[in-house]
């Protein structure tokens, strides 16, 4: 399993988000290394299809796929929680679902 954590230094959410990712990975017994990638320019944001900080990719897939008209730039990212509220952090449930889906996909023939 490949896990990539993309962040922009200008948004303060990356440290708590990385901690949350590590916690959920530990709870799920996922021992993959996290590749931490800092996005520093708008060109990089475009290249990585980075809708904002933080963005977590598992096996190349965004854990919360952005809409087709998403804007890629240096900004904080808004995640919609299950209760409809907005948060700068992905929820533990979102991370967990993505990790489990990736694990299941790896088991499929």
């Amino acid at each position: 399993m490949q896990i990539q954590f993309l962040f922009w230094e200008g948004c303060p959410s990356h440290e708590p988000a990385l901690e949350r990712l590590r916690t959920v990975m530990k709870e799920e017994g996922v021992t993959a290394e996290i590749e931490i990638i800092e996005i520093t320019t708008r060109e990089q944001a475009q290249e990585w299809r980075f809708p904002g900080s933080p963005t977590i990719l598992i096996d190349g897939l965004d854990i919360d796929p952005p809409p087709p008209d998403a804007f890629f730039t240096l900004t904080c990212r808004a995640y919609t929680r299950k209760d409809g509220r907005i948060s700068p952090l992905p929820s533990p449930e979102l991370i967990r679902r993505a990790l489990c889906a990736a694990r299941e996909a790896a088991w499929l023939p």
């Binding site: 200008g10 948004c11 303060p12 730039t73 904080c76 808004a78 995640y79 907005i86 948060s87 700068p88």
Partner: protein, 179 residues
């Protein structure tokens, strides 16, 4: 870092609102307390807190508290923060405070605002009495343990100084225009 220290006088402002009117502090001379809050449309921290901004304004309006919420972001780089989008957001959410456009970013620079949201709370003498975050938990209103803005409002309305006069503002950076 903010350009105002606790106790400093308010910096005057005159800005257009999304309702087509112009707003200045002179309009609110009768209000005992004014909160100048730097905000915007796109920031997830604002979006996490803006329900609480609306609720607090609603709860404290009759006590003479007036919020003035200002967006200063560069809309050419962040189109979600454009004036038409501000108007749309205010209508969608039923903002109960003026939502003002600091297009030149002059007011944000004068205040030394750095984050959205960032609160500057002034008393009836228009002296800064609280600066910083709305509370200590952007993600979960039910898990707030320190209601910074509410506590400051309650203290001022009781004729006292806020126990906590300043907290680090938490949120997105203000999106400055390139020089």
């Amino acid at each position: 870092m903010a350009n105002l220290n606790i106790g400093d006088p308010v910096i005057p402002l005159s800005l257009p609102g999304v309702d087509g009117k112009d707003y200045s502090l002179e309009s609110y001379q009768a209000k005992p307390i004014i909160a100048v809050i730097f905000s915007c449309n796109h920031c997830p921290y604002v979006r996490a807190w803006e329900g609480r901004m609306i609720d607090i304004q609603a709860a404290y309006a009759e006590k003479g508290v007036q919020f003035l919420v200002i967006s200063s972001n560069d809309a050419s780089q962040y189109p979600a923060d454009s004036f038409p989008m501000m108007k749309e957001r205010a209508e969608q959410l039923g903002f109960n405070f003026p939502y003002l456009y600091d297009e030149s970013q002059e007011i944000a620079r004068a205040y030394g605002a750095q984050r959205t949201p960032e609160v500057f709370l002034f008393d009836s003498d228009r002296r800064l009495r609280y600066h910083g975050a709305i509370d200590d938990n952007y993600e979960d209103p039910e898990a707030v343990s320190a209601h910074h803005l509410i506590d400051a409002l309650d203290a001022l309305l009781a004729g006292q100084s806020p126990a906590v006069a300043a907290t680090p503002p938490v949120g997105c950076t203000i999106k400055w225009k390139p020089n």
